[in-house]
Symmetry: D2
Subunit: 467 residues, 4 copies
Amino acid sequence: MERSIFASLSPLDHRYYATFPELFAELAKYFSEDAMIRYELRVEAALTRGLSKRGICPVTAAEEVSRACAEITPEEVYAEEEKTKHNIRALVNCIQRRVSAAAKPFVHFTATSVDIMDTANALRFMEANRDLVLPMTACLLRILIKLAKENKDTVQVGRTHGQHAVPITFGFAMAQYVSRLGGRWEAMAKTGANLRGKLAGAVGAYNAASLFVDDPVAFEEEVLAELDIKPSPISTQIVQAEFLADYIHSVISAFGVLANLADDLRHLQRSEIAEVSEAFGEHQVGSSTMPHKRNPWNFENVKSMWKEFMPRMTTLYLDQISEHQRDLTNSASGRFVPEIVIGYLASVQRLINVLSRLRVDQEQLRRNLEISKEMVIAEPLYLLLANAGHPNAHEAVRRLTLLSQETGRTLRELLPEQQELQPYLERFTPEQRRVLEQPETYTGLAARKTVAICAEWEAKIGPGEAS
Amino acid sequence: MERSIFASLSPLDHRYYATFPELFAELAKYFSEDAMIRYELRVEAALTRGLSKRGICPVTAAEEVSRACAEITPEEVYAEEEKTKHNIRALVNCIQRRVSAAAKPFVHFTATSVDIMDTANALRFMEANRDLVLPMTACLLRILIKLAKENKDTVQVGRTHGQHAVPITFGFAMAQYVSRLGGRWEAMAKTGANLRGKLAGAVGAYNAASLFVDDPVAFEEEVLAELDIKPSPISTQIVQAEFLADYIHSVISAFGVLANLADDLRHLQRSEIAEVSEAFGEHQVGSSTMPHKRNPWNFENVKSMWKEFMPRMTTLYLDQISEHQRDLTNSASGRFVPEIVIGYLASVQRLINVLSRLRVDQEQLRRNLEISKEMVIAEPLYLLLANAGHPNAHEAVRRLTLLSQETGRTLRELLPEQQELQPYLERFTPEQRRVLEQPETYTGLAARKTVAICAEWEAKIGPGEAS
Amino acid sequence: MERSIFASLSPLDHRYYATFPELFAELAKYFSEDAMIRYELRVEAALTRGLSKRGICPVTAAEEVSRACAEITPEEVYAEEEKTKHNIRALVNCIQRRVSAAAKPFVHFTATSVDIMDTANALRFMEANRDLVLPMTACLLRILIKLAKENKDTVQVGRTHGQHAVPITFGFAMAQYVSRLGGRWEAMAKTGANLRGKLAGAVGAYNAASLFVDDPVAFEEEVLAELDIKPSPISTQIVQAEFLADYIHSVISAFGVLANLADDLRHLQRSEIAEVSEAFGEHQVGSSTMPHKRNPWNFENVKSMWKEFMPRMTTLYLDQISEHQRDLTNSASGRFVPEIVIGYLASVQRLINVLSRLRVDQEQLRRNLEISKEMVIAEPLYLLLANAGHPNAHEAVRRLTLLSQETGRTLRELLPEQQELQPYLERFTPEQRRVLEQPETYTGLAARKTVAICAEWEAKIGPGEAS
Amino acid sequence: MERSIFASLSPLDHRYYATFPELFAELAKYFSEDAMIRYELRVEAALTRGLSKRGICPVTAAEEVSRACAEITPEEVYAEEEKTKHNIRALVNCIQRRVSAAAKPFVHFTATSVDIMDTANALRFMEANRDLVLPMTACLLRILIKLAKENKDTVQVGRTHGQHAVPITFGFAMAQYVSRLGGRWEAMAKTGANLRGKLAGAVGAYNAASLFVDDPVAFEEEVLAELDIKPSPISTQIVQAEFLADYIHSVISAFGVLANLADDLRHLQRSEIAEVSEAFGEHQVGSSTMPHKRNPWNFENVKSMWKEFMPRMTTLYLDQISEHQRDLTNSASGRFVPEIVIGYLASVQRLINVLSRLRVDQEQLRRNLEISKEMVIAEPLYLLLANAGHPNAHEAVRRLTLLSQETGRTLRELLPEQQELQPYLERFTPEQRRVLEQPETYTGLAARKTVAICAEWEAKIGPGEAS
């Protein structure tokens, strides 16, 4: 069944497919229906190979099955499912049709459908994580590290509650995301590699396998080891739901870090702030009616994708519940889980594109700090007064800031007139005085910490190729 | 861009598309990317027609634009968007390319992109609701009504907490869903018809339009009236988010009713209960390894789809927040909203199919009631005793039920031996005694209420054609 | 059991109770455990009165029961529940203990526990809605209306994507919230008044009542009418879940409007924007370490409360599912639903407080518009050129804006040099030219629309007393 | 402020507090407002001790502060906050009031409010996890292990889709929960111990501390080490949100395991299944109107609590977003996070109580298996036929099951008549035949796996005291 992508219903199959054609072609190798069937065929082939190694079926049977599995198409399976109304029975029928009578009995032998499906499903997430999620996240990390290092000394006013606080550097602000996204990269690496398959039969007790092998637990491990995956510690008909829930939590919480980053950067693009901007193409249109607009639409898109996919974690939690040895109420919902990973990667790709060309406006950064530069010293002033022995320094400085606001004169201008403070001020060291005179140097460890965090993550994720 | 549906990433574009090909072909008329572009073209055409009616542009211009809008393909628009990076500017360019120099200026004239997009979006939901959501829901209602009426007298044990309580009828149980789904049908009718468009310009204040017409509010109403839609009471760049949120709440809460129905019916199919069953095809396979299984997989699918789509209401609530005159963070997420309606309709269709052929096992219903028939009289007994003046009837009967459980004798057998109760028992009327002797008649108004509810909803939804 | 509020576990019972002591004392009249028991007693009393009107029990019995219901304390009921492990049985025992032997049988007669509880629950939401939710929302609306009207002509730059777009007025921005919150006020009025009770017995089929009255449906209506509430159209053991779900949707979507308003206002307080500010108390501290800070903490609090309560809608959807004639899995979760209303009202109260004293900085509004005033004319310029017959006006102006950015000269300065545009410019009317010369007048219908919206909602919500 | 618990608004502060008084008294030591203030005081004391160790302030100052911190009451702090409108400034003022002029400056010295609050918050979760969450979960695990071991050989029919499948043992079914909850216990241990504090100042760059110490990063580690907690790798004003999100994910996913267990056990209590039951107290009432009912209300309560708390994970994801160096929009929502842990523990406690006294009805288990015992052999029969060389065994057996259903004769009765199958049947070994003759022995590794899983988790969680 061929059709135009514009006839698709999901934005993942039209708009975002058209936006990132290469990425989505890659994703289809893991997450299309076609791919799912191929993964299932890989598991069926591994099973029969495992049986032949145990001498339960002839080696030639295993070879025939492997060959058949390499040839079958999804169309064929779907046509068969029309009749059976059962997707794995359809798959098995398709394999059996292509092998000799001697091999037929050993197709799917001792397995239940879910042995195949759950294992295939875990495998595709595991491999997509290894091949796409981790490398692409690492690529974004490298871009963030570059941005952080380049701007480790670029002074920026720190903002809490949207209010100017004390200075940091723009690199330091980016280093936050290096560290947080790095932490999520580690979490995804761990939970992705810990996904599990199963080959424990219809109710998880190896009822069928135990008719033919003495140690079905070992047999399960052998077959799954061929596919580089470990079994669920104990299963009902299905793999324990928590392994996938942990993985998706790691992906969704990584998505949350992207959303925070995107929010920060789009606010820094506000007309009044204008510290960064997305590079715009020559023909690119900002608004259909306001030709002068330059909107932070890529960052807005990332935030918006997060709003679409984040709430879906609830589905994973709902799917933890499966009655007795399993009900099927996690089946349809489970088919949509890959979309979460796809949404995440579409956003990673977008950020890779836009952050590689992010413009940082040094002049505007300086100008914004200027607005409250004179107020910034309130914090060091109060601390230095306290350290010099003033018993109520915070209150004294708070009053001084009010006076400053009323009079329009700076704290520095007002200081010499405050008789009460003079004894303490005299105790300040020259270096301490310097901070009061040059508030823009009051950035603490911003640069040092930026360097340390970047070095830590460069070591952890390794050099990587350019993406 | 053509490709196999099995290369699609969303289950809506492969598995469920393949399951319900006719329904999904219908859905594509409203919710594919192709359809969205056609809706937008309809709005652009209406706008220019509106301008010509006001004499702002020549009638021929409006005609040219309408003709152009009928011809443009999504491929063309996407190719243009490659350059502009702006979907509506691309659309406008495509229209302008097809019209005369005299008409060009009046394409999209005074409108902002979102005027077109928000109106188009509201329209497609409104029309899909009118053409698919309401009729299909009504069709399901008719099937439920039939089931309820046919079984209005089919006695079934009522179950609270999964425990046998007092009897109802199976029709009465179905009438609950007639009423609840009927209520949702009304809610969807109301909220779907109340979706809103806009034509208020870039920040909602009719800045542009007010340069050319005296009464832009009236002009907005005129143009939207052509499309049979009302304007948002006041807009920023976007329509107020609450109209769509209300509609989707009505859809998701309707979905919840389906999920409850599906849960009930799959539990009634439990091996130990077995009061109903899905009809199975001759070649249909229940399990790849347990050939005797007949699973309630359609009901499980409905529950599972609900688990996928219900949590997405959160996205609608998140999209209520748009900063100042709008940010774009509702854009990507907004593209996925139709999927909720699609998921709902796939489940409605599935229930139509399976409930048309539901098997109700009268014998098994009778047998299950038999299990606790003798206990059922505990309730009427206690009430009749109380009514006859027993000061502590509930406690007296509670003790009697314990005695019954200990001795294995029925309440009826034990009754004559309870000296203390005799004076009250003697006061019972013959009719009251009958309930104690024939507990299966203790169904209250089950049948009458079933009839009343069915009649109410038959009247409300009308006769309809068979689906 | 007395204890310090600081020993409480929920912030609603310590921090926010301490913040809004009067409001929370009011809320406790509807939503404390004490209140719930009092509501249940009201329903029990109404039931026995209903029985006496039908002649099923003596009038004196109804009087005794009413008296008992007025006296019982929650402590008493809880002590009894220790024994019965059943809250309504405990309640009934407490009533029976206080009435004569003749009245005892008619306490709770024909009712099931949930008849009492579901009716009581609906009643408390309905009355809290009528007495607190609607009036307080109306009070907030009045403050917003005042703000909107006072600032209907206060020009503010419109912002889309955080970027300066074209001008509106601050009053117009506030009028959006008048309209949206007004719409929610209407929705809450409607759904709150539509909550339902029931008196249909253990499985909803009036099994018990039908032993004693001919028309139990009419009897249910009579008793509920005494309490000013309508019955569920048909019930299982419980009222249809959709009535409460609709009400809570209306509350949560109203909360979303508050969250959007709060977000807007805290962004307008950003140091670089500074168009509005919360009034600060004389002794109030902005930061424990940065004495100069003035944080938008009240708006932040509203946003944060919304983040806590909005996701709880999911619980309402989960509670739509109750197996067969009911399971109890909506019981504990149902007890938490009032918290959503409480969270909403705490936020309404906070906004009432802070918006009554909001400072709007006219000078800063003017200064911000100044930043992009010269760019604002891009939109009217392109439209006027188009209207004057320019075939490609949008593109022409887009290029001009790029030139302006490169050269640092304004559009107005560049215009006379654009030979190509002169023929079109000459066709502009004087009034059209005025907009180009005074971009701050390019506010469209902002003021008119503000007035219209405010008038509409003043009429709908009525005058009200000052809160 | 004293008041009756029944005047509380949150069910956690009335109903569930009254249900589990001892547990809730324990919880209050970590999660009441009182406790939060005590935790903050502990952090302030540790900070000043750290300063004294570095010689920044006199040892006596640290001693004075520690003493003051031990004495202050929440009432005092709240009274002060009335004035300051800032909770930590209020706390600091209260401490300063109790210390000498020499010590005053070193209260809260170099810290920002959030240094104290975020560290205190992490500490209370970390300690509650160590002292309550892990031990109570382990206690529940021990009860599940006991139940699993005692019933390792108790044959139960396996159920998939609510349909009888092939047999397992009840112990094996419980072992699933041992393994899954065990896995969550490990996850909570890991994420709970990994919560983080901070002491990095107002914007995370150690601006203040760097005025007084050369190595503020090391100083932060020192002070936090006193409290047995590690710092956030890099902070803005707040600790990275992911540490708490990971912890709460582990708690909520553990809650999901409880919900699944509760669902399974309540379904096993259905009247028609009746394999297990909650023990009932002598005076306990099942229903106010149906005296014979014995409802699975404890399991229903657990499911219901999960429905309340599970959706709140969304709040944690929302709180990942904090603009720039922090906004305050995670503050109010953050205060409610402990409720998730409280809800989880209330459910653990309930399950501990009810599972300690769970009744397993051996006779009923046997009877239920009997229903489909004869169908159970379909699976081994098909596999043995396949193994014996039958090329189409699944289809052959599927047809046989249809024949069995039509004729009402068992598979075993029909087998001898199937000519086509005889050659294969003759190849079966005696042991293989035994399974067909005694389907109840077809339990695979159920018992062995149960023993292995129990041993694994007994070793991991250790012996523990009875709870």
